[in-house]
Symmetry: C2
Subunit: 303 residues, 2 copies
DNA sequence: CTTCCAGCATAAGCACTTCTTGGGTCATAC
DNA sequence: GTATGACCCAAGAAGTGCTTATGCTGGAAG
């Protein structure tokens, strides 16, 4: 079985016309070259070189091998270059899947920084909510999934985060829940409120997991919220609150890029956080482009 | 440095989707595959595979490598095929240089047999006298030189064969010198003659070395031949003898393919032989096609 | 829910390959 | 004649690759 190493040596010998010169070129000793060529001739089954006193000539088989070697070694070199480019963050692609409200500020910042730091790496972005984004990750359809989780509420079903224990979980941001009340609400002026203060209000809930978590938190606070509406669409939640239809508890991040109309943000006590994390597969975490993108996500949040 | 072995393993893994299956395909154990891939990832500087529970997927770098591997391994395989064809006498080329009178019978026979035995090997033929043909051999412009030599005449200059002692000398034929006299010559009827019987005759000599040797033999027999003509062209020698201009001593081979007109061949005593040999470089003797052609030359003579 | 099975990782031991070192021979150049 | 450069050979050392044995994990079946 011919190995690339053999061809490299053969090519050097053919080019320099001498074992010694080839050895110098290859950075080894002359006997090493001699032995390599012997081994290659052995596996070729025919002499490849003719030692005729002063000069070294190729046999026909040697010429054939050198001729092929050019293409083979060029291909090998191209392969190494391409891999090195990917490993060196000069090329590559990262497919990122984010949950909708993460895309608005965190992701654009991270993408911009990534592009500045590693212009060769292309990052694509899709949106999907956690259960779906994890599936995409496991199916190999993306490298990073941006998701969020709520800290476990004592006594509640701990199934939410259980699916991630075989993934790399990179904390990105801890996103405190902010209360949102209509402008005319009795607590709008106070600027702060406890959950129990809103026990009697109608609630506008967010996505299913957010809703579940809201219920758990409220029940821990001693009441069961009356949820009149629930929607994945955070702008819609803001709109509903602005229309005076209820109150809501929204992650700060969802309010960072919009100015609520007809609604006022109030500080909620006790503090409840939504933890935003970037997820990837253990092996993928070692891929340079993926690691760099994870870093950028963390950095973008730390701003 | 990426080696072909790595790519073979990677390709098998990519195709089968499993280390174990790849190991079976490659005829080795699973840890061997595991280690090879680890080494390859090490030298690539980035993961190439993602182990995700049940299935094995390629990273982008892995895909790039597999993509290149196809071409590289194909090229390697083509190179091996071509070399194997040359080594297996299914292809190749042998350049034979012969002295003129050797080409008439010996060489055609050998060429015909060679073609029958190994149709894929092309044999080219050029003509050159020994000093020149040896030069061609040493310069790499041919693989086999067909030449002749006379056994050393005691007391003569031994320089003739001295240049061959670093070559492979393959005896092909021992070609006895035959006397050629005009039809009306006093010895034409006898059918045999000693050199001394022709001491008074004018001689027609052959090529320079033949002429030198003739003089040596005659002087050893006790006389110095009177050489009226000397020519490389054996048919011309025959013509001159036929015209009654002298006698000659010709190798049998030169008479094998022609019928002398106006001249008669007589057995010469004592027997003097011209030895026809095939010469090649030591390394070239191990090239299958060269070896086969040497065999055919020897066989053609042994007929 | 437990058990079984398939597949990968790891460690240790062994064999092979490959490299280097230190001879030696031959040819060429001064 | 000597010196130099190139190759070959042999022996020893280093490194690499393969195998066996073992543990671990995830998925499938009972």
């Amino acid at each position: 079985m011919i190995e690339a190493r053999h061809l490299r040596v053969l090519r050097a010998v053919a080019r320099t016309g001498s074992f010694s010169a080839a050895a110098r070129e290859l950075g080894c000793t002359q006997p090493a070259v001699s032995q390599q060529m012997k081994a290659l001739e052995q596996s070729a089954g025919t002499p490849l070189l003719v030692r005729t006193g002063r000069e070294m000539r190729l046999t026909q088989a040697g010429e054939a091998l050198v001729r092929h070697a050019a293409g083979i070694l060029a291909g090998l070199s191209a392969a190494e270059d391409e891999v090195a480019a990917i490993a060196g963050l000069r090329a590559g692609r990262v497919r990122l899947v984010s949950f909708p409200s993460g895309s608005s500020t965190l992701v654009p910042t991270a993408l911009a920084r990534m592009r500045a730091a590693h212009p060769g790496v292309r990052v694509s972005l899709d949106e999907a909510e956690p259960p779906r984004s994890i599936e995409l990750l496991r199916n190999g359809e993306c490298e990073i999934a941006l998701a969020f989780r709520y800290p476990e509420v004592p006594g509640a079903d701990p199934s939410a985060g259980a699916e991630w224990d075989d993934l790399v979980v990179r904390p990105v941001l801890s996103d405190r829940l902010t209360g949102l009340v209509p402008d005319g609400h009795r607590l709008a002026r106070a600027g702060a409120a406890r959950f129990t203060d809103l026990a009697g209000d109608p609630w506008i809930a967010g996505c299913p997991r957010c809703r579940t978590h809201l219920v758990e938190v409220c029940e821990r606070a001693g009441f069961t919220p009356r949820i009149d509406f629930a929607t994945d669409d955070y702008p819609a939640v803001i709109g509903l609150v602005g229309a005076g239809l209820g109150v809501a508890a929204l992650p700060e991040l969802t309010l960072a890029s919009v100015r609520p109309k007809g609604a006022t943000a109030v500080r909620l006590e006790p503090a409840v956080h939504r933890e935003i994390v970037a997820l990837t597969l253990p092996d993928l975490a070692h891929v340079p482009a993926v690691g760099a993108m994870l870093d950028q996500l963390a950095d973008a949040a730390g701003r």
